[in-house]
Each structure stands twice: as C-alpha cells, then as structure tokens.
Amino acid sequence: MTTKFGISFSTLEEEALTCGRCGYCRKSCPVYQVIGWESATPRGKITIAKDLFTKRKGKALTDEFVQRVAQCTLCGACANLCSTYIDTRQMWLELRKRIARMGKAPKGYNAIRQNLLANKNITKFSNDDRLEWAQDLDKEIEELKLKVGAEVCYFVGCVSAFFPRASQIPLAIVEIFMRSKIDFTTMGGEEWCCGFPLFAAGFVDDAGQFIGHNVAKLKELDIHSLVVSCPTCYHIWKHSSQEELAGYDLEVLHATEYLEQLVKGGRIELNELHEVVTYHDPCDLGRNSGIYNAPREIIISIPGVRFVELRHTRTDSLCCGGGGNLQSVDPESAAGIARIRTEEIKETGATILVSSCQQCEQMLSTAINDAGLAVRVMDISQLLLEVMA
C-alpha cells in the first residue's frame, strides 16, 4: 500500500521519526473521538512507538501501550490526513506484529489465534459447516458445491457463513446469481478464513498460511474470477495475497463491482422503490480499496429511490467501529464509534441505510436499534434482490 504521492511505508522506526506530531490525525480518528486521551491519538501512539523502538529497542513496552495499539479499527482515516503522508494503517499492523513477536499480544488476540488455528474460521463451529446458511435457500443449489472451472467463485467469508444475520448476504447473492444464470461455485468447507484477523492481531506468519491455503484451493478449482462480499476478505485477496498469486491469472472483484456489472449489463431488471436511501462506505472497501462508485451506481439505478449522502462520505467516511479486531479488546469503544456514525445517519432522514459489509451492517444495525431510529439496514445485495423484477 502507498499513501499520497506513491509514498510507501519504509520501516516503523523511519516512519515514526518522520511523524511531525502535527495532530491532524486526531480529527479523523474514531477511537480518539470516543476515548479522548492523547495516548489514543495516532500521533500519541507514534510518539510512544518512536521512543520505544528507536531509543529502547522495544524494551519498556507497557500494557497500556499494547492496549492503545489494539484500540484501533484500522480504518485508515488517519493516513488520509497525515501531513507527512505516513501509511499509518501499515504502522499499526507493524506495531501489532512486533508486539505479537514479543509475546505481548492482548489475550483477546491470542484467543482469536487459537480458535482460527483450530477451526479455520472465526467461530467455534466446524469449518465443514460453512454452507449451513444455504439451508435457508428454497432448494438445494448444486453450484454451491466445489466445481472445477466455474466462471466465478464466490468467497463467502466467515461472518456471512456463520452468523445468521449476516448470512442474508450470501443468500441474496446466490439468489441473484441463480436468477442471472451465472455459472458459479463456492469453496465450501475448503474456504478458510481470509487471514485478516491474524494479520490484524500481528500473527502475520499464521495469516500467511491461511492465505496460502485459500490460494492453493482456488488454483485447484481452476478459478480465474473471484467475487468477494466481505470488504476485508476482498482487501486481503486484492492486496495481501499478491505474492501467492504471482503468475496466476485471477480477477478479484468485490460483490458491488460484480453486481454493478450485472445491472449495467442488463442482466438484472429493477422494480421501483420509493424510499430515501443512504450509503455507508466500509473502510476496507472505500478508503482502503478505493471502491466508492459501484455501490452508488447500483443504488441510483433503482427507479424511485432518493439517494442522500451521509455528511462524511467516500475518503472521509467515518468508521462503524467494527474493524481491526477492536471488538475483541474494547467493545465499548467500538459501540461508541457506531453511535457517532448513527448520528449522521439520523441527519439524512434516510429510511434505508445500505452498506456492503456484514460487519458495518451489524455494528450500525445495533446502534440504530439502540437509538430507536426507523431505519432499515441492508446489504447492497439484499437491496438489489428486493427490487429485482
């Protein structure tokens, strides 16, 4: 990853020294907005990291600092405003990696790791049950079983596969694929976690094993077009799997991109919908992957919809609080961040909030319910399925 002007992350030490401590990052940091202490600001964390790694070679690492490094959603908003163009998201990942290597990772992270190594997914369920959600389909779908050489492979992701609320996303996507007569398959029980929770916890080597497995299986299936509905899985496939994919021809598309192609290609006809719709940019899809237009194009192509933007949108979009393993170490802050975003949703007067990330939808749905707002939270695939003729 690079920031503005193509600047790449060099080393933690060099980047920490480059930080000017200007504090611009405070404005955009969702964690600082809810915690409020200087140590929760990106500049505060970098200041401590600089002292720790340029002067003390990692000695004197404190529990407080470990906690602050973990209190980050990896939303990348701080990099957007950084006056010295530091890829701060990479900085947080690097810090977590070093902390993990020093054996000081938070307990919650170790629990994530043990579970993933045992089950290959983020839940306690067996990975063989990855297609349980498909039982809610009207009929058995042959395409869900591993199929060599399918035109498209749909990578479901752990949350959508195992959590009932989120499983509405694969249900909608499969239904759309079926109606659009797409030749597709899934990786079934051979799909492992994308590896992001391990990456985000600092266990980079373990994450590499998960990536390696998924890439190998995909190659076995002779798949050359992958559709991913989880923005974080998408980000891993698009950016962190490139070494394993070197020399292999694979097009990786987020579901919004693929669905947009179906809509614009005339493979889907849309009914009218008379609602006020707003859209929340997931950080890993928008700011961290640059996909802003596809979901919007889908929404505005629905006849009758009045589309309204949130106050902070696209590159300036606010995080939902659900990223970066934050919930595993500080669920209260994660919920607080979702409440801030919910205030903006309220301002729009929208009756439907659309996003394209199961995690954002879960976080915002809870916050919207808690706030007593009459706003339906939908994934873009659910919205599309609802208006399909």
Binding site: R21, K27, E64, Y85
Partner: protein, 484 residues
C-alpha cells in the same frame, strides 16, 4: 493540600482525569523533539494530573480548586506549536480543552458565529460551509488548531491578508479567569478582549469565542514560478498592493522548491526557482478584477507564466501540508519569523549566506499576512538519532532568528523556547504593560507559568546566547551542520 486538591479533581472527574504516568507523559510534548536529558534537568514538564472538562463551568470549578492550592495550570488544546507553549514547566494540572467544542450559534444577519473554544478551525469551517459561510481567516494548521488556541497565539494565517488578524474579527470571548470566575469580554470591556489575544494561555482559559464570518465565495487560484527571490518579491509586492487583495499569498524559496521536487511533491514538477501561490476569493466581480490584475501582471512578466489553474488549485488544497517537507528529514529544526516584507529579499539572501557558513540546506516558505508583514518558516534537516549533532544544531536556530533580527524580524510566538527573545519580540514599554496585565489577572503567576513574560533563569538571554553560540560554533567547527 496540593495532593488533596489533585485527588479532589481526580475523584470528581473520574475517567476524565488521570495521573497515569503513561498518559501524562504525552502531555509533556508538542511538535518539538527535544531530548529528555536536556529538558528534564531544567523543567518539570510532567503534569501531576490531566483533566478534560466539558464546559466553562467545569473549568471554573477546576481552577478554583487548583488556584486555592497554588498549583500551576497549563491549558492545552491542539498542542500544534513547537515552543512548548502548552507544556507545563512546573508540573501541576494540564487542562485538556478538546471536549469544549462545537458551534453555539450562527447569526446570519450579524454575520457572526459563536463557537466553543476547543472547536478546530476545520470543524468550524465545515459547519460554516454547510450554511454558505466561511471563516474570514484560519491557521495553516486548521485541522488541529482550535479557535481558542489560535486566539491565544498571534492569530495570523491564511486569509489574514484580506481580512486582518483574528483579533480584528473577534467580537467577544468567554474566559475563565485564574481564580475560577467566568467572564465575558468585548472590544470595549474592562479589560478589553485584546488583553487575552496572543496571551498564550497565561491569563485565563478561553472557553468561547464570537467572531465575524464571511460568505462562502468562489475562488480563483494562481501559481507563479519565479526565477529567483527578487523577481518573486516584485510580483508579490505588486499583487498584495493591487486594488483587490488576495485571500492568500504564500511563497517558497529556491531551496524549498528544489526539495519539494526531490521529494516528489512539486506542484507542476517545478525543479528550480521560487513559487508564489496567489489565491483570491470574492464575488464574481471581484474575481473578474483579480483575473484582470493577474493578466496585466503576467503581461509585464512574460517569462513568469503561471502554472495551469488545476495545479494552482492542487497547491491550495495542500495548504495544510507544509510538514510534508519533513519527509526529507527525518527531523527538522528551525524557526518562524515575523518579518517586514520589505526585508524579504535581504533576509532570504542572508539566510543562504548563513546556510553556506554552516554547510546546511536551509529552506524557507512563508505567508504574507498583512500588507507589511509575512510569517516565514525557515528550517533545516537534522537527524535526532545522531544526538550530538542534533544538539549542536540547536545553536543554528538562534542563527536563523539572528538573521531575522538583523532584518527587523522576530520570532512568531513565544511559548517557552522563545522567551530568551522577548526583548526582540516586545518593546520595553509593551513588555512592562503585559507584565502589569499578568500581575493584575494572575497575581500568583499560576496560569501557564514560565511563558511569554520572563525567561526562566537558565534561559536568560546572556546564558542562552552564549550556550547557543558555543553549540553553533562547534557545529561549524566539526562541520556536521546538516545534510547539505
């Protein structure tokens, strides 16, 4: 009694107060990177307690407790200067004002906005823009600088050339005085609000500001490459004195332009010469006149054709990113000088002579903030990992200020590190007057002690000058001035 008072605040404010060493250590820093072994023997920069009030009433409550117990207080908001202006030097309580934020109200008829002092200029402008208005001026660190913070500084920045200093735009302020009394001050109150302007948090805590706003107008941007400083100065003079003043007028010298190019940040890929950014805002008629002024100017200087407007617009959108030059570091050292514009050419020439003497790459950029004055940031690269060299280089900061002084300039802002220069910054009469104000409003001297009025003993101009002279001499002798 001191411990009891601190405990009382800690208990009252719960998770909005902390005495954790981990947390407090971050409140002993600002932008300046100065080794602890230099700072710690001289000052106690570690707060005993940091508290985050949400209102003027809470600030008043805190001040009443600490003032009675003779505990020093340091207000802090964005902490975006490098002079230790918001860093305690005698421990005590730091009041973090960032929670006192948000717009109180906009009067479209009066063309004023009332805002809590901890609101950042970017947030204020975001609010005003959504209503069709804008701040008349703002600092070049608007994403972090707060309204109250900039009022406590000198208050000149982007927009000042057209609309004057922040002081001229402020109609009223709410201040919590050191003893805890909440007062509202106006231009004609007793004392007037200007007592608190540029007082750097030494007279009380500003909690609310009412200031004038302008209509949000369209803009027109120009970016002129100039072959050298003297040509740039001619254009600059012609532009600033024209019938329509620019909203913003900033410049970069040859060294700055070269370095921007080297780092890949150069607007328009300009490799040599100077750059002058000229930004107008106003009605369509005003912008038409501005366009005519620029067209005439370009006719008179055919070799200095402006860069494409899109490039000029990009330069405008990057206006808060001056620190990107730090990428050439890792560290930078330097100073900001308040300089008469008539001295600009001489100042920049003498800076380069100094740079040659010390084998340094010295860069300068600045903003024209009044028809007569500019603020100029002059700096050089350093490497704080090379501790000895880094400390020797401190002596060269004084050399920059000395060049400024020879050209009737002085440091912009005092804080702690510029107290040795207060004899240059203020006339004796002005300084005596400021000290009287301080004595009247803060007789115990507990509000942000050690700043503005007097230099701490170890930093008296004689000792300070001698020490800096030795450091600069050694830097020159050893020839490790920098990374030229």
């Amino acid at each position: 009694m001191r411990r009891e008072a601190l405990q009382q605040i800690k208990q009252k404010y719960g998770n909005r107060a902390t005495d954790s060493r981990f947390e407090c250590s971050l409140y002993s820093r600002d932008l300046a990177s100065i080794p602890a072994f230099i700072v710690n023997p001289l000052f106690n920069t570690m707060p005993d307690l940091v508290v985050r009030p949400t209102s003027a009433e809470e600030v008043a409550e805190i001040l009443k407790v600490v003032y009675t117990s003779d505990i020093p207080v340091t207000p802090r908001a964005g902490a975006s200067t490098a002079y230790f202006g918001s860093i305690p030097i005698k421990g005590g309580v730091v009041i973090d004002l960032n929670l006192i934020n948000g717009v109180v109200g906009l009067s479209e008829t009066e063309m004023t906005v009332t805002t809590k002092a901890g609101t950042t200029w970017s947030d204020l402008d975001e609010y005003l823009n959504s209503k069709g208005f804008s701040s008349k001026s703002f600092p070049s660190s608007a994403p972090v600088a707060t309204v109250g913070g900039w009022f406590c500084m000198k208050g000149y920045g982007i927009g000042s050339l057209k609309y004057g200093s922040l002081l001229s735009q402020v109609k009223a302020i709410e201040v919590v005085l050191p003893g805890g009394e909440i007062r509202r001050f106006f231009r004609d109150s007793e004392p007037p609000l200007d007592w608190f302007f540029a007082s750097e948090g030494t007279l009380g805590v500003i909690t609310e500001v009412e200031l004038e706003v302008r209509k949000l107008n369209p803009m027109k941007h120009f970016l002129m490459p100039c072959p050298d400083v003297s040509e740039m100065a001619k254009i600059l003079a012609a532009v600033k004195d024209a019938k329509i003043p620019p909203y913003n007028l900033h410049f970069a010298d040859q060294q700055c332009v070269r370095r921007l190019h080297k780092l890949g940040f150069s607007p328009g890929q300009i490799e040599a010469g100077c750059l002058l950014a000229i930004d107008y805002e106003g009605t369509v008629e005003e912008l038409t006149q501005a366009q005519e002024i620029m067209a005439a100017l370009i006719m008179d200087h055919p070799k200095m054709g402006p860069l494409p407007e899109e490039t000029a617009k990009t330069e405008w959108t990057e206006k808060f990113m001056a620190l990107r030059l730090k990428r050439g570091g890792p560290s930078i050292l330097g100073g900001e000088v308040w300089l008469p514009i008539r001295e600009l050419v001489g100042y920049l020439a003498d800076i380069q002579k100094m740079a040659a003497r010390y084998n340094l790459e010295v860069l300068s950029y600045g903003h024209v903030v009044t028809p007569q004055h500019a603020t100029i940031m002059t700096f050089f690269y350093a490497d704080e990992k090379r501790t000895v060299d880094y400390i020797l280089n401190f002596g060269l900061i004084k050399k920059i200020y000395d060049v400024g002084s020879r050209h009737c300039g002085y440091p912009y802002g005092v804080g702690l590190w510029n107290t040795p220069y207060i004899g240059r910054i203020f006339s004796p009469l002005r300084l005596a007057d400021l000290r009287k104000r301080k004595k009247k409003l803060d007789p115990k001297g507990l509000m942000n002690p050690g700043k503005v009025y007097r230099w701490p003993f170890m930093m008296n101009p004689l000792h300070f000058g001698l020490a800096m002279g030795i450091l600069a001499g050694l830097a020159r002798l050893i020839g490790r001035g920098g990374r030229r």
